[in-house]
């Protein structure tokens, strides 16, 4: 172990001879020039942007910020949905020596205020009128804030405010600085691997969000090791739809693009994802479990509408696909008879499903950021597309373990990646040590000391490692339920099975220090509505839909079905539906639309108590 430590300490990582992300980005931009790197859909048209465009725009942003007085280490925040300007501003502020922080566009004004103050943001990029209004509302109480730059000026023609300027004006300001030779290049040369590069706020389940400090070196390490887990190349197409404020989105759509020079396609907006995906047909696709669950339930519902023959054919095809997957997962040769059957169902069924889902050209699917049901991963393998589960955290700059071709186990998160050590503490907490582990949390030395001890990152996840080195994540440590009977239960395992139902979007299992388990369920509006209409269940709105006996019975059946797969103490005895349609602006949901266990437990305490 000491040897490994020495290696990690002594070796300076480089990619193509560059030791910082800034230098790597600039060399890519100057070398690749006219090669396309970003496609963005605008009013239904895919516009292309080359490396030169990205380089030039970033440079103008950087020089503009410099002219506004940015000094090395100053924080810039970006509040926007994913778009090209986000990427321009990100690299502009990083290369000029700033630190770039992402704000979720769904954050409420008080959260914006907290983020600006906690990070001491000086420059704030706001996507549009809506994001601008949030920051204007709180700016009296954000003393460090100096300038607000607005990407989209629509509806702001009359804006006359000394603190605000448009993105165009910033670029213009930067253009005026072009004559001053080499400022940009000089700042890029000054960057060191130890420099703080981005702040990524992680939603603290206890206390306010904490800013994870990711350095140039952290990210460069991640990019050099990611090759093993996500081997993208220049010919690959990605679909960019996850928020860039999240470490996964940032890592994949920005830094992995810089490393691999693949092309990222930015969706028009969050409603057009399915359509955009069909058009782009990505070759490399990373998404969170929520996304894969949604695709699966879309297909389940469609096949319920199909003819009897169609349903039978679907079942048959998936079955053949699963049998074949037994071989392909292990990298073994598929028996001839099975291969022939597969060729047939592939042609008539599976191929069509893949086209529908827009994954027909995918050579690599991956999932992380939340637990996923193993059955779902198998389903994608059965469809004929390999899916690999990864595991990691913001605090280790993205991912730490991964399944890879011919070396995977469904249900595990794979093995530790190159240059990363994973171990278990005495209480089975997963520990990570790598050059990707962050310096700490911004302005939070105590929290940092709790989380990172002697270079080991304490992930807060309970896990186990099998004899072959495959790592299994059991649950969040603090989420483990100990029932009144003293039995330890891992709720996420049960929740994953529940979420596999097309009618259940998310569920929270409750039962800590209680006699038995219960759960709160969030139904899938689309699929349950469809069910209600098919079965002539009268309802008016979401609330009344949740309250109908038929829907209660439906969810009950789904839960009973899941119960059969668990031991008696792990079965759900009662449940309640969350009868309000939640949207990402509600505190109950994370930006990736997962229910927050703690908030749900507090907010629905009455509903929970009813069940005991």
């Amino acid at each position: 172990m000491e040897e490994a430590e020495d290696m990690a300490m002594n070796e300076t990582n480089t990619i193509d001879g560059h030791a910082t992300i800034s230098a790597l980005f600039w060399s890519r931009a100057t070398e690749l020039q006219a090669k396309t790197v970003i496609r963005e859909k605008d009013f239904g048209i895919w516009n292309e942007y080359s490396w030169s465009d990205w380089g030039e725009q970033a440079k103008l942003v950087g020089l503009g910020l410099k002219a506004l007085g940015l000094e090395r280490g100053d924080v810039c925040s970006i509040a926007s949905e994913i778009n090209k300007e986000w990427m321009f501003a990100d690299l502009g502020s990083i290369c000029i020596g700033g630190v770039c922080n992402g704000v979720y566009p769904t954050d409420a004004p008080n959260q914006v205020e907290y983020l600006i103050n906690d990070s001491s943001t000086r420059f704030y990029f706001a996507e549009d009128e809506e994001q601008l209004d949030k920051v204007l509302e709180v700016r009296e109480r954000t003393p460090t804030l100096q300038k607000i730059i607005i990407f989209d000026m629509e509806g702001l023609r009359h804006l006359d405010d000394d603190m605000c300027m448009s993105f165009e004006e910033l670029l213009e300001l930067g253009r005026g600085q072009l004559a001053e030779n080499d400022v940009w290049e000089a700042e890029i040369d000054q960057a060191k691997p130890d420099d703080l590069m981005i702040l990524t706020y992680t939603s603290g389940t206890t206390g306010p969000p904490k800013g994870a400090m990711i350095t140039q070196g952290n990210m460069l390490f991640m990019m050099s090791t990611i090759k093993g887990a996500l081997p993208m190349n220049a010919a690959d197409r990605q679909l960019g739809f996850l928020p860039l404020a999240h470490v996964a989105g940032r890592m994949l759509y920005t830094f992995a693009v810089i490393e691999s020079t693949c092309v990222v396609h930015l969706v028009e907006n969050l409603e057009t994802i399915a359509k955009d995906q069909q058009e782009v047909a990505p070759t490399f696709h990373f998404a969170v479990p929520r996304f894969w669950e949604k695709q699966f339930s879309q297909v389940s519902i469609l096949q319920k509408e199909a003819t009897k023959f169609g349903r039978w054919l679907y079942e048959f095809a998936i079955n053949i696909g699963k049998q074949r997957a037994q071989y392909t997962i292990q990298g073994q040769k598929v028996p001839v008879r099975l291969a022939a059957l597969y060729a047939f169902v592939n042609l008539w069924v599976l191929r069509n499903i893949r086209v529908l889902l827009g994954i027909q050209e995918c050579r690599w699917l991956s999932t992380a950021a939340a637990p996923i049901a193993p059955d779902l991963i198998e389903w994608y393998w059965a469809l004929g597309r390999p899916m690999y589960e990864l595991y990691g955290q913001t605090e280790c700059t993205g991912i730490a373990t991964s399944n890879v071709p011919n070396d995977l186990r469904i249900g595990s998160v794979g093995k530790a990646m190159q240059g990363i050590e994973v171990a278990l503490s005495e209480n089975d907490e997963i520990l990570i040590r790598s050059p990707g582990v962050i310096k700490g949390y911004w302005n939070q030395p105590e929290k940092t000391a709790d989380t990172i001890q002697q270079d080991w990152l304490y992930t807060g996840d309970v896990g186990r490692i099998d004899d072959d080195g495959f790592i299994y994540v059991v649950d969040r440590m603090k989420d483990i339920i100990i029932t009144a009977g003293g039995k330890n239960i891992t709720p996420s395992e049960i929740e994953n099975q529940l979420k596999f139902s097309p009618y259940i979007t998310d569920a929270v299992v409750v039962g800590d220090r209680r006699p038995y388990l219960t759960c709160l369920v969030m139904i899938d509006l689309e699929n349950v509505t469809y069910y209600a209409q098919e079965n002539n269940v009268p309802f008016t709105n979401y609330t009344s839909l949740c309250h109908t006996q038929e829907v209660q019975d439906l969810v009950n059946r789904e839960i009973e079905e899941v119960n059969t797969r668990f031991a008696q103490v792990e079965t759900i005895k009662k449940f309640r539906l969350i009868d309000q349609l939640l949207d990402p602006e509600d505190e109950e949901l994370t930006p990736t639309q997962k229910l927050k266990r703690k908030v749900v437990n507090e907010k629905y305490a009455d509903l929970i108590n009813e069940m005991y």
Binding site: D133, Q533, D583
Partner: protein
């Protein structure tokens, strides 16, 4: 049991699904309003109730009987008076003949007395009783359309945007008359409106429709307090920090 019960109704115009699974209750003696933007499916709901459209799915029950997809004249003779959007008076018939047309489906009764009642509510119609209806003003035509439905002695009246194209004063007047009809003639009213202020003022219960679905239902007091209703239907919104807010909040309907 409510006087009018609409359950899970789905109606199409050709291949286009106009309302998808709408359920509405109208209690006897009340005024219930149905609000929504253009194209939300409000008119379709009324047409489905009165039999002008046949629903693909779902049922309509009136006074305890299933009346789904009966012929419009049958439904009218049961006591459902439909006042269509845009008045649709017979332009070449005189005012009085228009009113008599309203009584066409019921067994002859005290026609003269009923005419007097209508003229009592709408004195202007009496003045123009011999005039062809096409020559009446918009407001008078609206009165005529309501009066024509009244001649049916309906138990429930389906009013489709009676305030359409009327001056604020006339809107007020029509609103008052609807309330009086409800109280004095014991007519139950299902009122479709764009003018949310007037509708929430006179109705006791309300439904809000969006793209063919009910998204919210509640008493009108509570609807009027909902921030979404205030912003999207009553035009009350704060200007934000700049005083010129243009962007719209996400609707949550709670």
């Amino acid at each position: 049991m409510a006087l009018l019960e609409v359950r899970n109704v789905e109606s199409y115009y050709g291949p286009i699904l106009a309302i998808r699974g709408v359920s509405i209750d109208v209690e006897e003696g009340t005024i219930v309003t149905l609000l929504g933007a253009n194209g939300a499916g409000k008119t379709t709901v009324l047409k489905t109730i009165s039999g002008a459209l046949e629903p693909q799915k779902g049922t309509v029950a009136f006074d305890g009987d299933n009346v789904t997809a009966l012929e419009p004249d049958n439904i009218a003779s049961l006591g459902v008076g439909h006042v269509p959007e845009g008045r649709e008076v017979f332009p070449f018939l005189s005012t009085e003949d228009n009113l008599k047309m309203g009584a066409f489906t019921r067994a002859a009764g005290d026609l003269e007395g009923d005419l007097d009642t209508v003229y009592g509510y709408f004195p202007q119609l009496r003045e123009h009783r011999k005039l062809a209806a096409g020559f009446l003003s918009g407001g008078q035509q609206q009165m005529l359309a309501i009066g024509r439905a009244l001649m049916l002695k309906p138990k429930v009246m389906l009013l489709d945007e009676p305030s359409l194209g009327l001056s604020p004063r006339l809107v007020q007047e029509i609103g008052d008359i609807v309330v009086r009809l409800n109280e004095e003639q014991n007519v139950t009213v299902l009122l479709v409106e764009q003018n949310a202020k007037m509708a929430l003022g006179i109705a006791s219960y309300g439904y809000i429709m969006e793209s063919g679905r009910v998204v919210m239902e509640d008493t009108t007091e509570r609807l009027a307090e909902s921030t979404d209703v205030q912003e999207f239907y009553l035009g009350m919104k704060s200007g934000g920090a700049r005083g010129r807010r243009r962007w719209k909040k996400r609707k949550t309907w709670r």
